[in-house]
């Protein structure tokens, strides 16, 4: 079985803070990580590798420094890695991003394509299903658990708002995975050492199977018209008092609001 996993390097948003005075983002010094849902997707692929000897190729789109997440994927156990990088990819919205990734995946053999459900820096959850459409693959999103019959059929448990759903689908197909689907493995020492010897294949727009007009800013139907900070809402009253007095203030507010 051949598996392609799409991963993204994202800023660790749990580390992002607001400037208390200006209300703007402080981005400096924020570390980059492998997007958590994508890591869940990679773990799923590696579990299939452990059980069924699958070959796992990871692919990411981004600047040269995105190579870091590919090295991390090698250290976890991925077999091959592709970095999609080209100025022609720049300014891509989700549709143009999915076109680039689908264009690269078309050059590969695959039985299963895996993406994370969504990236923590955008939360759109769009790129996975869009890739599936471009490749004419059935999709199963919000994957919590996957069982493989060893031949052709996947039985997949997917999360819904109020429970779960179990579906069946044959390969080839695309799944989008939740970070909570599994516990991603750590990089091994051997893996880390080996990770730097493995080659990362770098692909530009000329190497992938897609029309260039569908890439980057040009291939993006959506455009940002303007970006603005929300402006800090004027703060209410802040009390620095002892516990007893604090309780008193809260109680009187609860009474005022007819909650007690």
């Amino acid at each position: 079985m051949k598996i392609v996993v799409c991963i993204k390097q994202v800023p660790d948003t749990t580390e992002v803070k607001l400037d208390p005075v200006t209300g703007t983002l402080i981005r400096e010094g924020v570390p980059s990580i492998m997007n958590p849902d994508d890591k869940g997707g990679l773990e799923l692929a590696l579990e299939l590798k452990d059980k069924y000897n699958a070959e796992v190729t990871v692919i990411t789109m981004g600047p040269m420094q995105a190579e870091q997440v590919l090295r991390e994927a090698f250290a976890m156990g991925a077999d091959k890695a592709i970095l999609l990088t080209d100025r022609k990819f720049a300014g891509a919205d989700t549709l143009a991003t999915s076109n680039a990734l689908a264009g690269a995946i078309r050059t590969l053999e695959y039985d299963l394509v895996i993406t994370g459900r969504q990236a923590i820096d955008g939360d759109t959850a769009q790129v996975g299903p869009q890739i599936a459409e471009h490749l004419d693959l059935p999709q199963v999103s919000y994957l919590q658990n996957l069982k493989y019959d060893g031949k052709k059929t996947f039985t997949i448990k997917r999360a819904t708002e109020d429970g779960y759903q179990v579906v069946e689908v044959d390969s080839p197909c695309l799944v989008t995975v939740l970070a909570t689907a599994n516990q991603a493995r750590y990089m091994t020492v051997k893996g880390i050492v080996g990770a730097f010897d493995k080659p990362v294949e770098v692909m530009g727009a000329d190497k992938i199977e897609v029309d260039e007009s569908k890439l980057g800013l040009k291939g993006s139907p959506t455009k940002v018209k303007k970006a603005f900070t929300k402006g800090v809402k004027s703060a209410g009253q802040v009390y620095e008092v002892d516990t007893e007095e604090a309780v008193g203030i809260i109680i009187s507010k609860l009474k005022e609001k007819f909650i007690i």
Binding site: T13, Q118, T160, E168, P221, A227, K230
Partner: protein
Amino acid sequence: MNRSEYKNVFVFAEQREGEIQGVAFELLGKARDLAKDLQEEVYAILLGGQDVEAKAQSLIAYGADKVIVASCPFLQDYTTEAYAQAITQIVTDYKPSIILLGATVIGRDLGPRLSARLTTGLTADCTRLEISEEKELLMTRPAFGGNLMATIVCSDHRPQMSTVRPGVMKSMDKDQTREGIIEKIKINFDESKFKVKIIETVKEQTSMVDITEAKVLLCGGRGIGTDQGFGNLQELAALMNAEVAASRAIVDAGLIGHERQVGQTGKTVRPDLYIGFGISGAIQHMAGMEESEFIVAINKDRYAPIMQMADLGIVGDVRQIIPALTQRLKSMKK
């Protein structure tokens, strides 16, 4: 593409087990505003099984001028491909200018599939929708975390598509006297593309609470600390007839289920009263609660970001304040 051929504001009226989801009514409310500015009409798309037509009237009562109904066994339970085929046919036949979908599990599965099939833009999780002077849809959403907002347009492609989370828009009051047209259509399916088979759909009891419905919400964050701290918060909530919610940190720590998470990857809430206990106010969290009517923040850090948003801020240790507040409420009830 001739943009002027595309007219009217369409809402995907999501149903599950035959019940139209609240977000569909909320979207109809917003669609009415947009259609008014465009001087166009509001259409609802209702897909489902045999009896789904019976629900069409309620969509009119909540603001639809026309309901397009496709009922067929293939549409009874949501599957990506059958729904994508149905809506693609509707878009081809009706040429909508705008399609709004709920940012639910179904909407977030269907929306991107459609956008790729129709080669058009889709803006996720919009918090504001309005019509520009050029009659374009301005779609505003939180960018990178939430404090930065981005207004997005889809100028050269139609339909303009957005998803909106449940609870973000307000539905209009139900008006049983509103009149509208119900139009039944037949979808020509390509069944050879139906490859995902539903084995079972299970509802779980634990997920039944809906914190978006709560009037009073007590929300615990990292400052709560332990199991014990969270237990104390639950006891306090019970005394106040409030619901308990949590930040991502608490959910990730396994203290409470994801269905009670507030924030960008959780739920958007707007209770009458929100009290944050040990919540510092990560931007992702604030994106999910900033529309609350009244916000109280209790935190050790005077300069925690949430203090700037709170109507009332208390600088203090929640591990002391929660038990003291509980004690006081108990003695008042005696």
